[in-house]
Amino acid sequence: MSSSDLLSVAPVLIISVWAILLLLLDLFIKNKGLTASLAAAGVAAALVVVIVRFGSDQVAFSGMIVADTFSDFLQIVILITALLGIAVAYDYLRRMNMERGEYYTLMLFTVAGMLLMSLAGDLILIFLAIELLSVPLYVLSGFARPEKGSEEAAMKYFILGAFSSAFLVYGIALIFGSTGTTNMAGVAASIAGNHANLTLLTIAIPMLLVGLGFKVAAVPFHMWTPDVYQGAPSAAVAFMSVGAKVAGFAALLRIFVSALPELSQTWGPVVVAISAATMIWGNVAAIAQSNIKRMLAYSSIAHAGYILMALAAAADPSVSEEAVSAALFYLFAYLFSNLGAWTVVLALERSEGRGLLIEDYAGLGRRRPALALAMAIFMLSLIGVPPTVGLIGKFLLFRVTIDAGLTGLAIVGVVTSLISAYFYLGVVIKMYMGTGEPESRSEGWLNRSAGLTALVTFLLGVLPGPILILARSSGFLTP
């Protein structure tokens, strides 16, 4: 261990130390706004560190930590998510009367887990990071306790989360049994050197897919998503719908692309199937939803499917780097479009779960034109209509998919995008063409977050260049 080793995990360190400090400080803070600000300050500090050290590839802690541009990019995404997550939570928690300092502490814990997911160079660390990210999320899901829905969400999330992480552990055990190591570089080397017991991997790979597929909500491991998203406090959902997915994809990409590239012929088709099923299921089921939180939950499932296209494409070694950067860009795009949409949901939610039906959005276009416009932009971006970042993201994904020769998958992708237009537009229709008087107060941080995310969603649609370059330089996974 050296100081440079420490630098590689500096963001995690900052976040975790800050979390512990905040836990103590919070006892003395009456104004929870201050807690929120402090939490945000910690996240911002970590963000600064990431940005400062961006671009220096580093393998630290004897291969346990791999800090490369890939992880840096993801850390940026995660930390931005966290900042926005804190911003939107502040107003929401106050309005919903559950303003407690632990919320921010737990968020910081989970952020630490997410960051570790992107940094992990060892399967065992991935497992621990998943747990570190999940455990606080279980709690955040139940944060609106004693509200029954929130509790139920937490319960379901927890049981299924624990269930699927058991699969993950077993998968890791089998990988260990097969290759004699859990270090990803070691696994790759072992398989490449023909030392591995490949038969064991036929069970190990599916188990890994279960464990990580659960986190990113891929079909058929997605079923918790709508229930949890609906029941959990919206602020927590807004945050985890992006954060957990980003972390999950970080691990998925890292494991499959850098540890198991030799077996891409094996897992490639499986990922194709899962990706297709996820896109179809997510988009089709979303149509039936009348609750916007459930709708967005299915939407997030569907988007997992789109990103999985990149993973499927990454099975082709010649495009894997492109594919990873496409996934990265999409995650970045998704962060703003999706979190933005949730922000609007937060703005309209009222106590006891009112204001959550799509019906309730009727007339928003008149009542709060700016907010409605922002929502419309998010919806269009999620469909993939110009001039929003969603189009650029999908374009990149389809491009790598076709480049990898998976035209069929790309066709599933475009057809399901078409289906998705239906329910996203449904919201827009309600907002602009329905008649109603939605109640909502104008709250500073929510407004600012919605405005910012909408602006970024639009701007990245017009000028995606810088982020594209960034994503492109981050597509290479340190072996």
């Binding site: 737990l106 814990f109 455990v135 709690v139 069970i203």
Partner: protein, 170 residues
């Protein structure tokens, strides 16, 4: 058949038998006790597999702490018997079929397919599985995971408190 194999088979039978008993017991307390038996059987297996430290941890943490916690909660809530007959027989049937298939798949992987499982166990270095060797590993190579574990436990603690604290204000 060697003595060791016989012991292994005996423990295996105990573990599997106790697991099944855990699954079928109507009473949650019984289930917990059967699980304890399984955990003990596994701990003995750990010993056989030269993992003395882990065996100790298994007994202390699992059987000792975790299972006691389980029993404590069961007793506290008085929820030994919550289940009537299953309301969804197809779920039960599907679960059985799936488990059956998965076991078959395990067997196929372990026995039918070619794969190098290293044959019978060979000799080991001295002190393998002892606290010292594990400790060295933990604090050198696995320092980061170890620290993460501590963080995780802290988070879990905070979480548990958040979840169980009674709210007077609401």
């Amino acid at each position: 058949m060697t003595v060791e194999l016989a012991i292994f088979l005996g423990l295996a039978v105990v573990a599997v038998g106790a697991s099944i008993a855990m699954l079928v017991s109507r009473n949650a307390v019984y289930s917990a006790l059967f699980l304890v038996i399984v955990l003990f059987a596994i701990a003995v297996l750990y010993l056989l597999l030269s993992a003395a430290f882990i065996a100790m941890v298994q007994v202390a943490v699992y059987a000792g702490a975790i299972m006691v916690l389980f029993l404590f909660v069961i007793m506290l809530l008085g929820t030994e018997n919550v289940e009537s007959e299953s309301r969804r027989p197809w779920q039960f049937a599907a679960a059985l079929v799936l488990s059956y298939v998965l076991i078959i798949q395990f067997l196929v992987v372990a026995i039918v397919l070619p794969g190098d499982f290293g044959g019978e166990f060979g000799a080991l270095v001295d002190g393998f599985g002892g606290p010292a060797s594990i400790g060295i590993l933990l604090f050198k190579e696995y320092l980061v995971p170890f620290e993460v574990t501590s963080l995780l436990l802290l988070a879990a603690m905070v979480g548990a408190i958040v979840l169980t604290r009674r709210e007077s204000s609401r």
